[in-house]
């Protein structure tokens, strides 16, 4: 296990880099996914088509392909940037489809009477969605949204495999590959690092769920 202590700085930096990537991707996909869910339930058919196609495309396509598309395709069309940002774009594109489905299921779980009441007091579709329906919907979908976010954290490991240096998976690749360290202790350390992110995240989401749950 010495390898973990000798390379502690590497592990620590990888841990925080992974957290950064996950933080940006989480915020981005929650916002985009919620907007898409709004599209999918809107009265305007073309918006519904956009939402539906988005979900079907990104739910059925491997994240690896989305990542490669962003990383190697975007430079081809003259969009240049760091792999770091391409990886976040890919994670957001992919995860937002799952967020959209979770939020939509929450919208469907809000009793119809709530929307009727909102209309009765004269709110428009946009107003009733943003101030009546969504706040309730999001509270009911904390558990599925939590699973989506935890899956996203785990998916972020893939970005290290295609060229984002310094995050946790890339650290394990560097140590076991070019430095030739024994794989078992290196990878045990990496697994512990991921568990340090996913287990507290799961516990936090469980707490949040109990705190905001609506009895329905």
């Amino acid at each position: 296990m010495n390898v973990i202590f000798e390379n502690f700085a590497l592990y620590r930096d990888g841990f925080f880099k992974t957290l950064y990537i996950c933080g940006y991707a989480m915020v981005g996909s929650l916002i985009l996914g919620t907007i898409l869910a709004g599209f999918r339930v809107s009265p305007v058919p073309p918006l519904r088509w956009i939402g539906t196609s988005w979900v079907n495309v990104f739910r059925n396509c491997p994240l690896t392909v989305v990542l490669f598309f962003c990383a190697f395709g975007l430079p081809e069309v003259g969009i240049n940037g760091a792999y770091f940002w391409f990886s976040i774009v890919a994670l957001v594109l992919y995860t937002s489809a799952f967020v959209c489905e979770a939020v939509r299921s929450g919208i469907n779980s809000v009793p119809a009477g709530q929307a009727e009441a909102a209309r009765a007091v004269g709110l428009t579709f946009g107003q009733s969605l943003t101030s009546i329906i969504l706040p309730q919907a999001i509270r009911t979908v904390v558990p599925p949204l939590g699973s989506v976010i935890i899956a996203m954290i785990k998916n972020s490991a893939i970005v290290g495999a295609f060229g984002v240096g310094g995050e946790l998976f890339a650290v394990s690749d560097t140590l076991t590959g070019s430095r030739g360290e024994a794989a078992l202790p290196v990878l045990t350390g990496i697994v512990i690092a991921y568990l340090l992110i996913t287990l507290p995240a799961g516990a936090f989401l469980g707490w949040l769920e109990r705190k905001v749950a609506i009895a329905r």
């Binding site: 079907n56 059925n60 598309f69 969605l129 998976f169």
Partner: protein
């Protein structure tokens, strides 16, 4: 579509407004597509040599490219099917032992499940591929991928099967036990067949996940579809076109699988309707799915 929760059947004014917004949305979409098109055109992404090897049978490289892609697809399917079969076997064993065993053993199983659920599947695959050789076990890359995927998915399937067993009415087990069946027989003859039936749609959906995850074989040099795509890109230097093609292949296969899962779920819920008298609930359930299906088409 249950969106009717949010708005009434539109009257004349609302219809006009919906039409207006539709036109705006379509115009916005077309404008966006045009920007993408112009950018692609400006960067010469519509040059014939980037497309014909993939889509024009008369191109000299067409057969070569598609031979490689079909090899990749065969490898993807092979790894996915093996991973599914092994995950099913191990997942069922885990679920059964978790349901029936002594508490101390159950805690081991729960710990195992929580551990494997908390780590990224790409780490599981990498772990297998790097650590097994240290213990003198050298395998083909495919087996590292299959073992990694199995480790990860068996615990997911274990949870699915356990949920299936728990969803059965308590009377099933009691009736079977009162007939004098042993615990093993109760599980094997009465509970598991029903649990699998109830869980079939969830299991088919898990197939989609496994198919997508085979693409992680690229980190351990397994020649599945995405890695083959990478090799094609290196030769033809057309990442956009090649990855687009591969994405479309995956989307078609996985979309078909998802629809199949919905179809099976509907069939099963219809079967239940005939058995149980709980007709109202079954009808609502089937309608929900029909609605989801209809929006999926749109």
């Amino acid at each position: 579509m249950s969106a009717s929760v949010l708005y009434d059947a539109p009257g004349p004014r609302a219809k006009r407004r919906v039409l207006l917004f539709s036109i705006l949305a379509v115009a916005g979409l077309l404008a966006g597509l045009y920007v993408v098109y112009r950018q692609l055109d400006k960067q010469n992404q519509f040059d014939a040599d980037k497309w014909t090897p993939l889509f024009d049978p008369s191109d000299a490289q067409f057969n070569l490219v598609w031979n490689r892609i079909s090899e990749g697809l065969a490898n993807t399917l092979m790894a996915a099917v093996l991973a599914v079969v092994f995950s099913l076997i191990i997942g069922t064993l885990l679920a059964v032992t978790r349901v029936t065993s002594a508490p101390w053993y159950r805690w081991i199983v729960v710990g195992f499940i929580e551990l494997l659920r908390g780590i990224p599947v790409v780490i599981a695959i990498f772990f297998v591929a790097r650590v097994l050789p240290e213990f003198g076990v050298s395998l083909e890359p495919m087996w590292y991928l299959v073992i990694g995927l199995t480790l990860y998915n068996s615990v997911v399937i274990a949870e699915i099967v356990r949920a299936g067993i728990n969803s059965l009415p308590k009377g099933q087990r009691e009736a079977a036990e009162s007939l004098g069946l042993t615990r093993g027989q109760v599980l094997r003859l009465v509970l598991l067949p029903q649990a699998f039936r109830a869980m079939l749609p969830a299991l088919i959906s898990q197939l989609v996940v496994i198919l997508k995850d085979t693409s992680l074989g690229f980190i351990i040099s397994y020649e599945e579809t995405v890695r083959v795509g990478g090799q094609i890109v290196q030769v033809l230097s057309n990442p956009i076109q090649t990855y687009l093609l591969i994405a479309v292949i995956f989307i078609i296969v996985n979309y078909a699988l998802s629809r199949f899962a919905i179809y099976v779920e509907r069939r099963l819920s219809q079967g239940k309707k005939a058995v149980k008298t709980d007709e109202g609930a079954a009808v609502v359930h089937a309608d929900d799915l029909a609605g989801a299906g209809a929006t999926n088409v749109g």
